[in-house]
């Protein structure tokens, strides 16, 4: 059965019902309601978790609300990465939960400098988007030399230079063990158990209490057989890698990921209920051509997997033009679709505007709003931002679809009392909405100035053009 909503009453009955508020909610009913909406976690009800008399109820609730895909934790120091933990096949069925971490690789034949560069690049990668900091998450250390000593040396260099969680990559158990010996108190991901080594890898996974990836390229029978055996031998935190074939075979990869998730979410088959992983960096040795082409195909593979349920990615490019769209795409796909598309139409005050400060206009599409208000705030321009109701469409779409209409300007101007706040009657609209300027001017009797097409150009506009515009208006309206 696919995911279906659970009644909060059903959960409420199993809670302690003391309304102790330890979970941060008003009462048990409120907690139950949030829990079925995935807005809080079961562990937050500490009495249920800790008091022995509630043990049975805890387990009952867990069996009702547990995700179709097991949540597996990779950890180093204070940083925990959760992968999997998903409930649904399609994001619109509910929401996706854990954005797939991205690991960049280093190998044990790279120079110390190169390793440090790549590690620092990964750790320092940062891009602010709608108030969220987009980051890279992990280092995948590959044993190319297949020499345990070299591997240890590399793991040490990585550990000294970053706090990020680690994935140890070798198909030789003795090499993995060498790496694990340095990471005893952490939970690195072991990569990987194959049909040849699964038994020894299982031992390491148990001994060091680390999650284990299962790698069976292009062979789903093999993947399941190894998985089954690992479960039977007591290894529970698995990550499934059906192999990432960039170019020929990419459809096999995509279809394997789709099948695994479908079996878990729609058919509730626990054998498939594990996070998956993909390795877009295989583009670097599967594709012919120059670096530009290989990096492009790495990006293509990464994007294809992100929209097709992958729970963890290993990449090689340190090109911003590869990683920026990929991290943004990941954010987009893992945004909760239940969140509204639009913000409230209103007048936003930025800094300390006075009666001659500019009034900028934008749409009430949430992303437009974030960008424009962020840009104006960051450039510290005292001004007003008039958010006009465009039914949540971006400026260009709203303009094309006739959703940027004078009546809506009027509504928000009246409601906000803008006419009392500024002495001028000038609105600065985005260039992408230029064609509505005449209509708006006629309807609301404000002067409508076509401003920059992107809000990043607002500072230059305010410096170079606004004083002139204001003077002109003042001289005409003495």
């Amino acid at each position: 059965m696919p995911w279906k909503s659970i009644s909060p009453i059903e959960i409420y009955k199993l809670l302690p019902r003391t309304n102790c508020q330890k979970c941060g909610e008003e009462n048990c009913m409120a907690f139950a309601a949030k829990l079925v909406n995935m807005e809080t976690k079961l562990d937050k009800c500490t009495p249920l978790l800790e008091e022995p008399k509630y043990k049975a109820n805890y387990e009952k609730i867990w069996s009702i609300i547990k995700p179709a895909v097991k949540e597996v934790i990779i950890k180093r120091g204070d940083i925990s990465l959760k992968i999997g933990g998903e409930y649904v096949m399609y994001r619109h069925d509910l929401t996706y939960i854990n954005p797939p971490p991205i690991a960049l690789d280093v190998d044990d034949e790279m120079s110390e400098n190169e390793i440090i560069n790549r590690v620092k690049f990964t750790e320092n990668f940062s891009y602010t988007y709608t108030g969220i900091n987009l980051k890279l998450d992990m280092i995948a250390i590959r044993s190319v030399s297949e020499d345990p000593k070299k591997f240890i040396k590399t793991v040490k260099i990585v550990m000294e230079n970053t706090k990020l969680p680690i994935m140890l990559c070798s198909l030789k158990p003795e090499i993995i063990e060498a790496g694990l010996s340095l990471l005893k108190n952490d939970r690195p991901l072991i990569y990987a158990a194959t049909k040849s080594n699964w038994n020894e890898m299982a031992k390491l996974s148990k001994e060091y209490k680390c999650p284990l990836a299962v790698f069976s390229p292009g062979d789903m029978d093999g993947l399941l057989t190894i998985t089954k055996n690992l479960i039977d031998s007591g290894v529970g935190d698995l990550v499934l890698d059906p192999g990432t074939f960039v170019g020929n075979g990419l459809s096999t990869t995509i279809n394997s990921l789709v099948a695994i998730r479908w079996k878990a979410c729609e058919e509730e088959n626990p054998l498939y209920g594990f996070p998956t992983m993909g390795v877009p960096m295989t583009a670097w040795f599967l594709m012919d051509g120059d670096k530009l082409k290989k990096a492009t195909w790495e990006a293509i593979a990464a994007a294809s997997l992100i929209v097709n349920h992958v729970s963890l990615l290993v990449m090689h490019s340190i090109e911003g033009w590869v990683l920026l769209p990929i991290t943004l795409l990941r954010r987009n796909i893992y945004t909760d679709p239940r969140k509204p598309v639009s913000v409230k139409p209103e007048l936003k005050v930025i800094g300390n505007p006075n009666e001659w400060s500019p009034v900028f206009v934008t749409s009430n599409f949430v992303l437009t709003y974030y960008l424009v208000s962020g840009d104006i705030e960051n450039s510290k321009i005292d001004s007003y931002l008039l958010i006009v109701d465009t039914e949540g469409y971006a400026v260009d779409v709203a303009t094309a679809a006739n959703k940027f209409i004078p009546d809506k300007f009027k509504e928000v101007i009246d409601e906000s009392g803008l006419e009392k706040k500024v002495k001028h009657r000038i609105l600065v609209i985005p260039r992408k909405a230029a064609k509505i300027s005449g209509d708006v001017e006629d309807a609301i009797k404000w002067r409508v100035i076509v401003g920059p097409s992107d809000s990043s150009e607002i500072p230059a506009f305010v410096k170079n053009e606004w004083p002139k515009i204001l003077e002109e208006w003042k001289s005409e309206n003495k």
Binding site: K195, S196, N199, P217, E266, A303, N332, A401, N402, D454
Partner: protein, 405 residues
């Protein structure tokens, strides 16, 4: 696994392992029984050579290993997407050299648990945008065309098809907007005629988005392009549908119904259009936005429409359009940024490419793109997806230990 180049006997060993894998008795070669069987079959000399390669370092206790068989997901998709033909050859009453059929899917995009040609009988169509007047285009797009070309829609169309390998062009008659140049419907129709002469593939023609003017423009170009079965971009609920659909029907064109992000409106609009056109002359557009600038909305609306259709919603069983050029609305596509993020001449095209790719995976059939590199790369992707699966599974083990660069 050993690296393939390390041991010349690996191939022999592999062929034996393969033989065992095909039998049902053993699956996992670190298990002792595998070695026993192997020993029976190999001559003592070969055994000497091979055993070290595949023998595990320590003897592992034999375990009964039940082989688990992968079963295809039990998916049932009762619906099927309607096939829509765009363009008309001479024998059909037009002047095109060829036509395209889009739609016909029986499963979500690229769910190839069956043969590709069964679940996705037609490959998606990739078109390049051209405009009837010079508009501000990002440098990463302009640099592929000469400045003169961008003033000449017919030449622009020819280059898009011949040089950049687009299947079709989407002509946007933006100058017809009363607030832009207010180009008259008959002048606009001339541009359409010129473009129809310049290329022999089917074309798509769009208006300015002004609902009143688009009705006039579409009526006129329908007449002038009689029988060509052009794809009209687009109809929406704000239009006088009766007025625009009568000429479209009379002169035999195909339409895009545009209902951004709203499945209910899409059904509502389609129902109105059904009064005039048969279902196989309608394509739908749920809107598309760029990565970082609302991709999730267009992606999800498109995917939802497709899944609803395949689950049996007859009012949504139409091929889907993706306006991928909207990718450029994301500032990361065109802004000069810190060098860390790469030159915008690379970043921009990648932005459009990946936006298109996501829409392809969401289920879109007809793609409007503006960057000349997008159609060919997306086609390459589609070729790989449909192509024969010749790839080495064993080789992939090597990603772990291969030196890159």
């Amino acid at each position: 696994m050993e690296k393939s180049d390390k041991n010349p006997y690996r191939k022999i060993a592999e062929s034996f392992i393969k033989a065992f894998e095909d039998s049902d008795e053993i699956e996992l070669d670190s298990i002792e029984i595998a070695i026993d069987k192997l020993e029976l079959l190999l001559s003592s000399i070969t055994r000497q050579i091979i055993t070290p390669t595949i023998m595990p370092p320590q003897i592992v206790k034999p375990i009964e290993v039940p082989k688990v068989k992968f079963e295809k997901p039990k998916m049932v998709w009762p619906g099927k997407i309607i096939e829509v033909e765009i363009g008309a050859t001479r024998s059909m009453g037009g002047t095109r050299d060829k036509t395209y059929i889009i739609g016909g899917e029986k499963a979500p995009s690229f769910y190839f648990f069956e043969k590709p040609e069964i679940v996705m009988p037609h490959k998606p169509i990739f078109a390049l945008d051209i405009f009837d007047m010079k508009i501000s285009l990002p440098k990463a797009v302009r640099m592929f065309y000469g400045e003169d070309v961008l003033n000449d829609p017919a030449e622009w169309a020819r280059i898009a098809i011949e040089k950049f390998n687009a299947d079709m062009i989407t002509l946007h008659l933006v100058s017809t907007d009363p607030n832009v140049k207010n180009t008259s419907p008959s002048e606009a129709a001339k541009i359409v005629e010129n473009v129809l002469q310049a290329v022999k593939v089917p074309i798509c023609v769009g208006g300015s988005g002004n609902p009143e003017k688009d009705v006039e423009v579409f009526s006129k170009i329908s007449e002038i392009a009689e029988g060509e079965r052009i794809l009209i971009n687009s109809l929406n609920l704000d239009m006088d549908l009766k007025k625009v659909l009568e000429p479209i029907k009379k002169y035999g064109h195909v339409v895009i119904d545009f209902s951004p992000m709203d499945l209910d409106k899409a059904r509502q609009l389609n129902r109105k259009v059904y009064d005039y056109l048969p279902k196989n002359m309608i394509v739908i557009d749920m809107n598309c936005a760029g990565i970082g600038y609302g991709l999730e909305y267009g992606y999800t609306a498109t995917q939802r429409a497709r899944l609803a259709a395949l689950r049996g919603d007859e009012e949504l069983q139409h091929p889907l359009v993706a306006g991928v050029s909207n990718a450029w609305a994301a500032r990361e596509a065109w802004l000069k940024m810190d060098p860390l993020w790469g030159p915008k001449e690379i970043r921009g095209p990648i932005w459009e490419l990946l936006t298109g790719l996501c829409m392809l995976l969401a289920g879109a059939d007809y793609f409007m793109t503006v960057c000349p590199t997008t159609p060919s790369t997306l086609k390459e992707f589609v070729e790989y997806i449909y192509g024969e699966k010749v790839f080495s599974k064993e080789e992939l083990y090597n990603w772990v230990s291969t030196k890159i660069g």
